[in-house]
Subunit: 355 residues, 4 copies
């Protein structure tokens, strides 16, 4: 059995890691790290775990932890891991970081968007961006994986094949994303109170949300050039789920018979098929079907649909995930599976819960 | 007292008309029309009205109704009013139509998007599009007002001044709209069941929703040329509220000192001020504040905010309304107030309910 | 115009007072007291009030306030008013206290249940328990009104006539109450976060909730002897509304013809009619109709229904209110109306909002 | 592999059976029966099953089905199975019936509460009431199991040990239950629309709900005499979950030292321990902890808490389940596991999903 430690086990993403790992055949959790609940029984913090988890929370001593476990998951605030990670830790254990510390290769971009001084940029080169369906082979070799953000996982995977194959102009890309409230974390803040969120919808972080440069960097790799986009997140009165609605202008491509024209639905589908046809966790929906977050709730699936608007020459892409699973803990476990050579779906054959 | 009749009084928009008119000093409701509940007490269909409304529902005999009342509100399915409206009716009474029958001036566009044969196109010219803040003077003279759609009211008012003043390129406009579920009506349909909507978000009617040509027509008048946009509605798990998030490329304008440059926030605010500065029901929020549907719930307000993204040269506009008030019944009463010379705010000084 | 001050204007009950008083013809708010937001614009704390309220928040200096206004509403934590109230204040101004400080006549009971030392028990005798429908005449004469709790208003009014007339055995009374989350206040506490409340229901304060002795005291007056009951509150994932489901054993009464038997539905209805037949704000529903919180939302109504179970000899009573209106701010305004000789419904003809 | 057929596979309980059985190692589903969706792909009716279930729906020909499978689950309206069940079917296959047809031993009680003529009362004696924790040994031998109702499972298990051991007077028992809306099924009915359920709570079926005699019968067996109770269900704006709050008068029992007194918390806990100490699916919470439906969501757990009120001599019991799992499909699979000799937890080690 692989031994795992979680730092930040009492946030929502950490708790979802616990839920998933409890059903994983090859892993046992050794360390429930939580700065806020040290020595408190984990099952008193998350009472759904009553009689399932007997452990108490421990502190976040990563150096000590690294000696005891084979893999560490850090579901911690930005800057934490960058402040404590050392070569010695990485020699003892693999690390899957659910924070943003190693997602952006350019430390200047990180520091500009996060307003944090990065304390260990020396690991940026080594860190692998853990979008499994895109970077599977690198993840398998990695000691340090930067687990993608929730919005970014959904936004990138939805657009990636079309950018990569040049079907859309990436600089016209607009991502209008909607998230359930668990994405805001378990901190006791007024804007996250039930009565403030319920019966309400709002945009936030407009033109300034930190997931923007992450999407831009990854789609830039696909496009082969820098990409600048608009990304607008919204808060939706539901617990889980992210829906990304994405708009982009189609580019003329070669069509059968030598004509130059906008791609049609069949060509778009073909491109998705080329990249995701064998991917278990990505489901390209049937024509005319729009994804709904409820259909992936509790699972590691990404549901993708699209619609071409001939009137405007744009394509509308829609992607849906569970922000805590494929957008956080599920993808982290998927990365771990790759890093340890386990079957990629182990622990992740979670059937979506409906209703 | 002006006597009013409502056809379609048992739909959600009709019920909201009842709620608002009960607080209107100059109007009394004479006719609660409802094909589905004829002879049933209205307060048994909407039990919130117990002891407030003693009337029973009547049928939808508009010719008879026209003789008894001064104004008729039709909150009916598309095609109903067009099928029964006559010159004689309009000689007896004023009509505020909450359906789409007279919103689009081009009958061909109506028939293409609604897939209904229009039975009385002869009234299209006369009908006034009842967006009060834009067409106030025409509404005052009207016999027949086409009350705007919920999405369209929010989408148009949010973008109108910027299109009119040429600050944005209207053909780059993308409207990503989110609506509460009351917009789907009170019909007993599976997709509107609690368990299907709750904890879920989805797009629908992508590139095909009927409110698209309505937005295009009105913004076309503002632009002085035809406009083609993308409009994507989403269903949100809440009862009321519409949030429209709109994206458009800024156009270079003359700036003080003779430079040509993108408009800045102050200029955008100035343009909003020019058009809406004296409008009671339109609130331009302070810099950096994003509208939230909850802040206008139960009221006739439109809250508008915006953010310029210098990186992409786009502006993000956000507008919020209560879909049943400013998006339907409230605007209908506002139109009626104008048509009868009542103070425009009569019956509509509804303070938003929070939480 | 009567001048009003609110201490605790930025809690949910305080904000609802503002909403209601903005529509009151005889009152203007002079003082928005809020210890947490001193000098901040009120409309930035509650953005629904943007352009409706221009004032900034002031501190909670009640002695100063008393000189400036005719009535003070205290929507403050338990113990606040008792700690600052003086005879001098009451000589300047009337006070409606939304806290529990003067609800219980027995200071020992107060101190036992609230675990607070009561600092001004000398006013307990004078304070009138402001359940308007029961104590209307005393309220009219009062300087100091103890506005009833939300649960208690609903629980007492639902059972009062039956206890008073001896139709039920008060010691068998069990009140199982369900409340929306606004009852928990606007404090930033983990259990009130959206993700903790949504998709969840729980009991709390079982056999220990502070509203228990308040219900017991008032029903004791009705019964003419001390009453001990069970009261269990539950937290429901909705913003507003309280539903009280109450169970009690029927007592045998004289029936026409001289028989002794359990009362039937007609007799129960007659008793409700006797006490509430002329009450505008209390609606006794038709036979077989169960109240729903949504039917009173945003209004000052109390909807009451009942069902006799002949199999068990018990009656099930159900009462529904909006906890922030009849359960707090609405009732406070109703009390103020009585105290100042205004029409009792002034400012309170709020039609319930549905949906 | 055991072959299973589901009749009524497109209701919410049927869909939950599919979700659970997809994760069961010993079972494969052969027949997705649905009268409403014959020949339609199952994954088009429940899009969460896209790429997980390839089958199309079949009709409800139980005689044909019985020849093909080892076990049939009927998640059908009341009266269906009673109308078609034959001895021949039971000779071919085992049956777990999620309807009420064989839950009540007395056909007269069934016909009185359900207003349906029972067409196969000859199987009533044979049918085993499938409350696994109570009737485990009989279930193991059964051909026909009557799977308990959702409210009843929760209500009975919460009170059973205390009734059985005589700690409470069963005739004082009052069950106030609250259910998520999935319990109302997937039928397109107006009262189940999102806008009617959301932001609302109501009681229904007061003193007349069909689960009442089922609770009474089972608790009657525990008490050794007929029991009559009050049971009141409520509809809560959430998808899943049932919370039963139960009230009963404690009975004096022998206490250590020979005194006669009311039982204390330790004695109550001891009695729960005696009956449920080894039950995996029943969790007796720590002192002072109230169960919450969210803590069992998606799982087969029953969480039970209690509080003694010395003032009234009553005990308040609280039980929480997921109505679609332990209240329907999960318990059905638990019964199937017992009937086929599989480990009782197979397919049911579902960790509760939070948030």
């Amino acid at each position: 059995m692989v031994k795992a430690g979680i730092i930040g086990a009492t946030g929502y993403a950490g708790a979802e890691l616990v839920r998933i790992l409890l059903g994983h055949k090859e892993v046992e959790i050794q360390w429930y790290g939580s700065r806020s609940y040290i020595e408190e029984k984990y099952a008193r913090v998350y009472r759904n775990m009553f009689q399932l988890v007997e452990d108490s929370c421990l502190d976040d001593n990563i150096a000590e932890l690294a000696k005891q476990v084979d893999v560490i998951f850090t579901a911690t605030p930005q800057g934490f891991l960058a402040g404590v990670l050392t070569e010695e830790i990485l020699q003892h254990t693999k690390v899957v970081d659910l924070s943003a510390d190693y997602r952006l290769k350019d430390v200047g971009v990180y520091e500009a968007w996060y307003q944090i001084h990065h304390k260990s940029p020396q690991f940026l080169d080594e860190a692998v961006y853990g979008l499994c369906e895109i970077n599977r082979e690198q993840v398998k070799q990695a000691r340090l994986v930067a687990n993608p953000g929730c919005y970014t996982t959904c936004s990138i995977l939805t657009a990636y094949p079309l950018v990569k194959e040049g079907l859309i102009d990436p600089d016209t890309l607009i991502v209008d994303a909607k998230s359930g409230t668990s994405g805001a974390g378990r901190g006791a803040k007024l804007p996250n109170l039930f009565c403030e969120v319920n019966e309400n919808i709002k945009a936030y972080g407009v033109a300034s949300h930190r997931h923007t440069p992450e999407i831009e960097e990854q789609l830039g790799y696909a496009a082969g050039k820098p990409v600048t986009i608009n990304f607008t997140p919204h808060l939706v009165p539901m617990n889980r789920g992210i829906l990304a609605t994405e708009y982009a202008s189609l580019k003329e491509v070669w069509r059968p018979g030598g004509r130059v024209a906008y791609p049609d639905a069949a060509q778009v589908r073909e491109v998705y098929q080329k990249y995701y046809g064998k991917e278990y966790f990505i489901r390209i929906l049937e024509d005319g079907v729009c994804p709904e977050t409820k259909w992936v709730e509790g699972s590691n699936f990404v549901d993708i649909g699209f619609q071409i608007d001939k009137r405007t020459g744009r394509i509308i892409l829609m992607g849906a995930i569970d922000n805590l699973v494929k957008g956080a803990a599920g993808q982290a476990v998927q990365n771990m599976n790759l890093m340890f050579g386990f079957p990629e779906q182990e622990g992740l054959c979670l059937v979506p819960v409906f209703p």
